[in-house]
C-alpha cells in the first residue's frame, strides 16, 4: 500500500488527457453535422461528461468497482466515494476512480452519434443517466471490476468492449429507435466544418495515448508498449482507409481521420497484449473493415449519423477478436490464436458477442422507454431550424 510518485504522476496526467477526449469527440462530431447543430454536438459532449461525473462519484463507481455480486455488478460499498481515499497501491484510489470516470464520460459522448441533430436535451439527460447506469457500469464491472468476463479470462486492456462495442452498438440501437433525420437520403447532409473534425481527431489521437498507455496503471514498459502500438494502429488505420477510399474514388480527409480512429479503437483492447508488428495488422484491417461497415450502413439507408457503429462498434469488435488472435505472452502474459491458444480467441469472441448483445438490447430498451415516457425527439420545426437555435438559443457563428 505505497504510492509511486512516477506512476501517480503518469495517471494524473493521463486522466486529464482522457477528459480532453470528450470535447474532442464533441469537435469531431460537431464538424461532421450541419452548421445548425454544431453547438448541440459540443454541448452534448460536455453535458454527457458532467452528468456521468455526478453519477460516477455518487454511485456509478461503486456499481462498476464495488465488491462483486454474482459476477454481474458491484456492491454499494463505495457509494459517495466512501472508502475511496488518497492512498492506494501504486496510485491513490481516488485517482483510479477518476481515471475510470473519464472513460465512462467519454463513452456516453461517443453514443451521441446515433441521435445527432435530433435529440431533445431533457431526454438525453434522462437517457444518459440510465444508460451509464444500466449499460456502462455493468460492462465495466464485467471486464475490470471482477465480473464474469474477468473471471473467464477475457482480455480488454483499455476498453474495447466496455467503451467501444458498448457505445458503437448502443448508438445503432438508439438510431433505430429515434429514427432517421428529416430529409436523410433525400438531400446531402455534408460535414460543415471538416477542420474541426480533424482537430477533434487530433485531440482524440493525443488523448488515446493516455487512454491506452494509462491503462497499464503504471509508467512502465507495458505502458510504453501500449503507447507504441496505439500510435502504429492509428497511423496504419488512417493510411488503410485513405488507400481504400482512394481506390474507390477520392482520398477524403474524413476517411483518413476515421481510419485513424478505427485503428485506435481496434488496438484499445489489445494494447497491453500485442507487439508493434501485430499493431500494423490490427490497425490496417480496422481501417478496411470499418470503411466497409460505413459503406454498408449508408447503402442500407441507416441513419446512425456519425458512424459510431461503423467505427467504434465494428472496430471494437474486431479489436476484441484481434486481441485473441495476436496476443503474445512475452508482452501481456497471454498467448493468442497465432501462438496456438484457440481458447483465448473463443473467450474473446464470447465476450465480444455478449457485450454487443447486451449493449444493443439494453440500449434499445432504455431508448424505447425514454421515448414513450418523455419523447426522445425534438419537433419537426425544431429539427428544421437546428438544435443550436431551437434548444440553446444560439448560433455557432455570426
Amino acid at each position: 500500500m505505497v504510492l509511486d510518485s512516477g506512476d501517480t504522476a503518469f495517471i494524473l496526467i493521463c486522466t486529464a488527457m482522457v477528459v480532453l477526449m470528450t470535447p474532442g469527440v464533441g469537435l469531431f462530431y460537431g464538424g461532421l453535422v450541419r452548421r445548425k447543430n454544431f453547438i448541440s454536438m459540443l454541448a452534448l459532449a460536455f453535458i454527457a461528461f458532467s452528468i456521468v461525473t455526478l453519477q460516477w462519484v455518487t454511485f456509478g463507481y461503486s456499481l462498476a468497482f464495488g465488491p462483486d455480486i454474482a459476477g454481474l455488478i458491484g456492491g454499494l460499498d463505495y457509494v459517495g466515494l466512501a472508502g475511496v481515499g488518497m492512498d492506494g497501491e501504486g496510485i491513490p484510489d481516488l485517482l483510479f476512480m477518476v481515471f475510470q470516470l473519464a472513460f465512462a464520460g467519454l463513452t456516453l459522448a461517443i453514443l451521441t452519434s446515433g441521435v445527432a441533430e435530433r435529440i431533445k436535451l431533457s431526454a438525453f439527460i434522462v437517457f444518459g443517466l440510465l444508460w451509464t447506469t444500466l449499460v456502462y457500469d455493468p460492462l465495466a464491472h464485467w471486464a475490470w471490476g471482477g465480473g464474469w468476463a474477468a473471471s473467464l479470462g477475457a482480455l480488454d486492456f483499455a476498453g474495447g468492449t466496455v467503451v467501444h462495442i458498448s457505445s458503437g452498438f448502443g448508438a445503432l440501437a438508439l438510431a433505430l429507435v429515434i429514427g432517421k433525420r428529416a430529409g436523410f437520403g433525400q438531400y446531402s447532409m455534408e460535414a460543415h466544418n471538416i477542420p474541426m473534425t480533424l482537430l477533434g481527431g487530433a485531440l482524440l489521437w493525443f488523448g488515446w495515448f493516455a487512454f491506452n498507455a494509462g491503462s497499464a496503471l503504471a509508467a512502465d514498459g507495458l505502458a510504453a508498449n501500449a503507447f507504441v502500438v496505439t500510435n502504429i494502429a492509428a497511423a496504419t488505420g488512417a493510411l488503410a482507409w485513405l488507400a481504400a477510399a482512394w481506390i474507390k474514388g477520392t482520398p477524403a480527409s474524413i476517411g483518413m481521420i476515421s481510419g485513424a480512429i478505427a485503428g485506435l479503437v481496434a488496438i484499445t483492447p489489445a494494447a497491453g497484449f500485442v507487439g508493434p508488428m501485430a499493431a500494423i495488422a490490427i490497425g490496417g484491417v480496422a481501417g478496411i473493415i470499418c470503411y466497409g461497415a460505413l459503406l454498408f450502413r449508408t447503402n442500407r439507408g441507416l441513419d446512425e449519423s456519425l458512424d459510431a457503429w461503423a467505427i467504434h462498434g465494428v472496430g471494437g469488435f474486431w479489436g476484441a477478436l484481434a486481441t485473441g488472435i495476436f496476443a503474445a505472452a512475452a508482452i501481456g502474459g497471454v498467448d493468442g490464436l497465432i501462438y496456438g491458444n484457440v481458447n483465448q480467441f473463443l473467450i474473446q469472441a464470447l465476450d465480444a458477442f455478449v457485450a454487443m448483445g447486451y449493449a444493443f438490447g439494453m440500449t434499445y430498451l432504455i431508448a424505447k422507454v425514454v421515448d414513450k415516457v418523455i419523447g426522445l425527439r425534438v419537433s419537426e420545426e425544431e429539427e428544421y431550424v437546428g438544435l443550436d437555435l431551437a434548444l440553446h438559443g444560439e448560433s455557432a457563428t455570426t
Binding site: Y187, S379, V385, L389, A390
Partner: protein, 108 residues
Amino acid sequence: MKMIIAYIRPERFDRVKEALVEKGFFALSVTEIRGRGAQKGITLRGGKVSIDLLPKLKLEIGVEDTFAESVVHIIREAAWTGKVGDGRIFVLPVDFSVRVRDENITTA
C-alpha cells in the same frame, strides 16, 4: 435580358440545379442569405421561441427574355415542398449584359 432572383430552401438547391441543367441552363450564381417571408419565420414550443431569420439560398440567373418564364417554372417546380418557407422568385429587367472574357455584348 432578365435577371431572375430566386430565394429557395438550401436543401432544394441540388434538385433545382439539376432541373436547370436538364433543360440546358447552366449559368448561375448562388449566395447564402438569411430571410423570412410573410409568415415571420418559425415559432417553436407554442410561441416561446421564435426564429425569425432562416438560412436560404439566393440564386441569380441572367437569361434571355424568352427563357425567363420557363426558368422560373423550372425553379418553382424543383424548389416546391408545399410548406411555409419555400421561397419566392423575382424577375428583374436587365438593360444589357457583357461577358468579361469575350467582349460579346448582348443587349435586350
